[in-house]
Symmetry: C2
Subunit: 415 residues, 2 copies
C-alpha cells in the first residue's frame, strides 16, 4: 500500500568536505575517522505537554522516564502549551517558573522549543470575559510581551496567533478574544500578535497557524503579506481523526501554501490507530465518546499512513517541520488513540515506523571512513549536525544546503 | 408560511415637507395637489441580458416588447453583460456600439445600469490563453480602461472584479486570468481592477463581487481594506437553485458582511420555480439536465420565498440593492426555471408578488393631498424620486434619509 511515487529527498541532503589535518595544518591522508549524525535540521516535532511533571519533579503517571526516552530518541522539537486560560488561570499568577523548568529540561536533551499559542480564542481565562475590548487588547499585548520575554533563550519559535480565520466568528463558547477580533478585524489581531512578539524578541521566529486550509486561509495570508506584516513561516494543522488524506491531497494543499515563498510547518498532525471519527463531524471537538480504543488493525494502518505522510511531506521542499500531536494515547486530545505509544507505555508500530525513518533511513549512524590522498572526506547526508570522531576526541560539524569545506584538526595530532 | 418576524422598514422611509407657493413665494394654503412616487432609491435590479436584441432592432424571440414592459414596470436597475470572452471574442473588435445602444435603451426607460464584470476568470477570450502573464495583465488593464471609458455617462456602477476567492485556484477550465491571479495574488488583481477603473471614471461606483460567502470572503475583504483599496460596495451572490436559505441564515450572512461599514448589494439572486437542484452539487455549473420545468407547486413556492427574501433583505439597513438573476425562464442560466416570467411570456406568481411589494406596498401611488394653513404638505414614503402635480404641470422632488424642506411653485400660479 505504500505510495508508488518515488519521493525525492535530494533537496534534504547536503555535502560537507572535511579535510583532516594535524595541529600544524598539514592534511592527514589515509586516516581513519568516524562520522556520525547528531541532529536533523528538519524539524521532527511533537507536543511536550506530557513532560511538565517529569521536568518539575512531580509524580506523573503518563510522562515517565520511559516515555521520555522514546520521545527524545525520535523528536528534536517540542511544542509547549501556552493556552492562556491554563497558563494563567488566576490573573497575575502565570505558570512561568514551571514552564521554564520544562523548557530547560527539553533544551538539556537537545530539543528545540516552540510555544503555542500567544493569541487564540479558545481556552481563554475567565477573568478576561467581562472586560471591555480596549482592556482585553491591552492585557493580550502585555501577555505576549511578558511570555516571549520570559522564555527568551529557551523558546525560539512561537505560534504567534492561532486559527484567525474563524477567530471573529467563532460561536462555540463566549470569549474575550473573539469579541476583540470581531471589533478590530483579523489583520489587526495578527499585526498585534506579531508586532508585540517581535518587539520583545527579534531573534525568534513567529508563525500564523490554522486548521482552516481552504481558500480562506490563502486570502488571510495574502492580506497579511499585503499589510506588510512579517511572518516567518506558515503553520498548517492536519488533524486526521477522520482518516488520512493521502499524499495527493496533502501535497496539493502544501503546494497552494508554498506559493507564498515562506517555509511551511505542519504544526499539528494526528492519525488514529482505532476507528475513524465519522466524516459528518465538522468541529472535531464535538465528537465525544466514552472510550476510543487502539486496535491491532488500526495500529497497522496508522503505521503505514504515518510513513506515507512523512515520506511525502519531507519530500516537499517548502516543508521545514512536521509536529505530531501527541506521544502517548494517555491523555491524548479528544481521547483519540493518536499516540505513537499506547496508554500502557509500549510503542505502537507507528513509533517504530517513524523512528526507522528519522534515525535509520534518513540518518547517518557512526561510520568509519578513511581520508583520501589530500586528507579529505566528503560526507553526504541529511542536513543537520554531525560529529567527527578521531580516537577519543570529537569535533562537531554541519551539513547544510550549500557544500561546505571545513578543516578539522585531528585531536591525536600526527599519526 | 410567511415569517413571523415583523421586519421594520422604518430606515427605508423618509419625509420631505413640501411648501407650495405661488410665483411670488407666497404659501398656498388648502390647495389640492397630487403626489406620486416615480422611482425607488433602493436598487430593485435584474439582468438586462435579454434586451440587447430589442434595443438594437434585431429580431429576438425572448426579449420582446411585452417582456420589456413587465421588466420596466418593476425594476429600476439593469446589469449588463461584459463577459470578456463574449464581449470581445475577436481581439480588437469589442461589441461596444451594440452594448451602448442597449445601455441607452435602458437609460431612456429610467433604468440605471451596472456592468458585470470587468475582471473574471470565467468566459475569457481564447486569444488570451497562450499569452505570457505580463501581456495578460497589460491587456486586462487596457480592457478595463477602455470599457469603463466607453460607458462613462451610461454605466455608473461596475462589478470591478468577480469571484476573487476562487480566482487563483479555479480548476474548471484553463484561462489566462487564473494564471495571472496565481502568479500575482488576489489583492494584486483587486488593486489592478479598482485602480484602473477608478482612474478612468472617478464618479462611478465599483464593487467586489463573490459567490463564496464563507470566512474566505471576509478574510479577502479585510485584506483589501488593510491594503487601502477603496471599494464602494460589497457584492454578495445568492443563487438558490438548491433551495431558499431562509431569513435567519440570510440575515446572519448579511450581518457578517455589514460589519465592514460598506453598503451591500445582493448582486445575483435566484429562486427556482421547479424541482430543487440536489444538495450534493458543489459547483452549480456541474448540474446539467435536458429539461428543468417550472411547475405550479414550484411557482407557488418561488413566489412565497421571493416575498420573504425581499422583505427580510430590504429590512436590513446595510443592503442597498437586490438584483434578481433573470426575468424569463427562456435562456435562463443553467436552464433553471428561475425567471419571474415563464418561457411563454406570462408572468409567474413570483412576478406579481415582487411587483406588489415594489409598486404597491412600498410605493406611493398618485395621491391627492391638500396643503395646510401654511401651504405645507409632509410627504412620507420610501426613499426615492417623487413628483408633485398641480393641474397639468408637475415638479419633481426627492425623499431621502434626512428630512427635507422644499418649496415648490404651483405651476398654476395663484389659485
Amino acid at each position: 500500500m505504500h505510495s508508488a511515487v518515488p519521493f525525492s529527498m535530494a533537496h534534504r541532503l547536503g555535502t560537507t568536505i572535511v579535510t583532516v589535518t594535524d595541529a600544524t595544518g598539514r592534511p592527514l591522508p589515509h586516516t581513519e575517522v568516524v562520522v556520525t549524525q547528531t541532529r536533523h535540521a528538519f524539524g521532527f516535532g511533537n507536543i511536550g505537554f506530557d513532560f511538565l511533571g517529569l521536568a518539575n519533579g512531580e509524580p506523573d503517571a503518563i510522562g515517565t522516564e520511559g516515555l521520555a526516552e522514546l520521545y527524545t530518541d525520535v523528536f528534536n522539537t517540542a511544542t509547549l502549551p501556552f493556552y492562556w486560560g491554563r497558563f494563567e488561570p488566576e490573573r497575575g499568577a502565570p505558570d512561568t517558573a514551571r514552564m521554564q523548568r520544562t523548557a530547560r529540561w527539553f533544551r538539556e536533551r537537545g530539543i528545540a522549543l516552540k510555544g503555542h499559542p500567544l493569541v487564540w480564542h479558545t481556552v481563554q481565562p475567565d477573568w478576561l470575559l467581562d472586560l471591555p475590548a480596549d482592556e482585553i487588547e491591552r492585557l493580550q499585548r502585555e501577555r505576549i510581551r511578558r511570555d516571549v520575554a520570559d522564555f527568551d533563550g529557551l523558546i525560539d519559535t512561537w505560534d504567534a496567533i492561532n486559527e484567525v480565520v474563524i477567530m471573529p466568528v467563532f460561536a462555540n463558547g463566549d470569549n474575550g478574544i473573539t469579541r476583540l477580533a470581531h471589533a478590530r478585524g483579523r489583520i489587526h489581531m495578527i499585526r498585534m500578535a506579531f508586532e508585540e512578539a517581535r518587539a520583545v524578541n527579534p531573534r525568534a521566529r513567529f508563525l500564523l497557524n490554522d486548521f482552516d486550509l481552504s481558500s480562506a486561509y490563502e486570502c488571510l495570508i495574502e492580506g497579511v503579506l499585503e499589510a506588510g506584516i512579517q511572518i516567518d513561516a506558515i503553520g498548517l494543522q492536519t488533524h486526521m481523526h477522520q482518516g488520512y488524506w493521502g499524499e495527493d491531497v496533502m501535497l496539493a494543499m502544501v503546494d497552494r501554501f508554498a506559493r507564498y515563498g515562506l517555509p511551511l510547518q505542519l504544526t499539528e498532525t494526528s492519525l488514529v490507530s482505532g476507528h475513524l471519527m465519522p466524516a459528518d463531524i465538522v468541529d472535531l471537538n464535538d465528537y465525544r465518546i466514552p472510550e476510543w480504543p487502539s486496535t491491532p488493525e488500526g495500529e497497522a494502518r496508522q503505521a503505514e499512513e504515518l510513513e506515507r505522510h512523512y515520506r511525502s511531506l519531507v519530500s516537499h521542499p517548502a516543508v521545514e517541520s512536521i509536529t505530531y500531536w501527541g506521544i502517548s494515547d494517555a491523555g491524548a486530545w479528544l481521547g483519540a488513540p493518536i499516540g505513537l505509544v499506547r496508554a500502557d507505555g509500549t510503542p505502537k508500530p507507528s513509533y517504530h515506523a517513524l523512528r526507522s525513518l528519522v534515525k535509520d533511513e534518513w540518518w547517518l549512524k557512526p561510520t568509519t571512513v578513511v581520508t583520501d590522498e589530500d586528507g579529505r572526506i566528503p560526507v553526504t547526508g541529511f542536513r543537520g549536525d554531525y560529529e567527527l570522531r578521531a580516537g577519543a576526541a570529537s569535533v562537531p560539524f554541519a551539513i547544510g544546503a550549500a557544500e561546505l569545506q571545513i578543516r578539522i584538526v585531528h585531536p591525536a595530532g600526527d599519526r
